[in-house]
Amino acid sequence: MQNICLDMDCTQLRAKVVSGELSSVALVTAVLDAIEVRDTQINAYITVFREQALARAAEIDARIARGASVGQLAGVPVAIKDNLCFTQGPTTCASQILAGFHAPYDATVVQRLLDQDAVILGKLNMDEFAMGSSTENSSMKKTTNPWDMNRVPGGSSGGSAAAVAAGLCSVALGSDTGGSIRQPASFCGVVGLKPTYGRVSRYGLVAYGSSLDQIGPLTRTVRDSALMLNVIAGHDPKDSTCVDAATAPLCDYTADLDAPVEGLRIGVVPELNVGADAQVQTALNTALEAYKAMGAELKALALPHADYAIAAYYVIATAEASSNLARYDGVHYGHRTKDPKDYVEVYSKSRAEGFGAEVKRRIMLGTYALSSGYYDAYYLKALKVRNLIRQDFTRAFQQCDCVMMPVSPTTAFKIGEKTADPLQMYLADIYTISANLAGIPALSVPCGFDSQTLPIGLQILGPAFSEARMLRIARMYERQAQWHKHTPNMS
């Protein structure tokens, strides 16, 4: 079956809609029909807004017909991770504790999609509260990988990656606290960008680890990620951590995208790369050779504290989570236990009934790390290690324009393969976590397949606010390698 979102990227679809060659209603209908057929197996969507999406598409078509100006995403079907507040439909975070919750406001990024005339098709599955690396921690459904239905799509933005890879939306938004955009993008063979901390407003993103969380796009092409960053980036008075133009000027991320970066210096970390599977290493090395052939210089360097990133991350992220998730108290919104015997039970039973195992585990770990007597040994120590990791990158970027490494040590693993041992699941985040701790931007771009036709991603990390250059670097390779032309065989 033909799939329009796999044949054309968002930029091309928008051009067709605006020229009148393709109506938004026809486009949105085709994708909604594809969802009806395919999503019974992929299970990327928690909620689909069929009627509302068609009504909005018709409204955009009417505006185009009468010659009104339309936005950068005019009439294009997009979808969003279900931890982004949207006044349409429920916002679940894939958790039972948010049962019945309807967001009273739109997240800033959602508002920006709407301002650019995007058609939001629905809300996408994820690990509960974005805690996980396989989307298996969702309390709603199990999302599968479009490249192999027996495998996970990655996580926590697994629904976003699977939907884009399967053509069940043109582009999607996800969130990344320790790799949750890049790792599923890698597992599903799409592009995923975690912008610099502070580049994109988090107003309306359900908080997990506030010093780490960042919203970003998952798309089929680098150009679409640049387009999406144009739409979502920029200062927001509603998020005090979102930087203004004086701190970091905005630019048109699509403008010079096809211009190769002259004299590109790529940092590689041989010590770190040997931890990845042989086929992942081969794909990485092939990509590096391609850059070399394009005139780039490879510089071997060290990130001496990278090996401590997982330890520091799982203290900091869980400490922040234990504080952020204290708001789920059974009082203000979401699930409340039946017949509590006193007010303490309103909290403790509502939370015990509403949270899944991984969320409870992280709240417990974070509470322990912050508790009296352990704060210095765990939380304070982790913050110091975090500083060392940031300094590693500061030194690295004095010698190179970007660092390249794998996204994940393996390709997509089998459903159920890692659920029994939480620590094993955490250890797979080795390559993605450092960017969140250092606050720097990082992206995943497809760089081939393993022997089982499972996608492999190349990770590009850059200095803070260097997204424009990073996207150009990713585009140099994409244009030459053309991996994005490969689509999963779903019959």
Binding site: A311, T367, L383, L423
Partner: protein
């Protein structure tokens, strides 16, 4: 360096976390937290003497907005999600007992 976490501590942490866990969960979490903390202890291999703790990853201070009055959501929009409400209030079980002399 840190001593092993035991069931007593896990029960205390569950109480601090306001999580009413079952005995099975307590047992399972004790083993899992022990394994995770043992791994996390590798941070102690690093000498961090004199290293500043970094709570935030970028050298930015808060971005302030103009202090102007804007519309708020309003009580009805907020209370629409309440598990139980009573007029303009969230309704919860009694917090003070009968002998509190209120």
């Amino acid at each position: 360096m840190s001593e092993k976490i035991d069931e007593v501590q896990v029960r205390k942490v569950a109480k601090l976390s306001r999580l009413d866990l079952t005995d099975t969960e307590i047992k399972e979490f004790t083993g899992q937290l022990e394994a995770i903390l043992e791994y996390v202890d590798k941070m102690n291999q690093l000498d961090t003497e004199g290293v500043e703790p970094m709570a935030h990853c970028l050298p930015i201070s808060n971005c302030l907005r103009e202090d102007t009055v804007t519309d708020s959501l309003g009580a009805d929009a907020i209370l629409a999600n309440a598990p139980q409400r009573d007029g303009d209030f969230f309704k919860v079980p009694r917090i003070l007992d009968d002998n509190s002399g209120a």
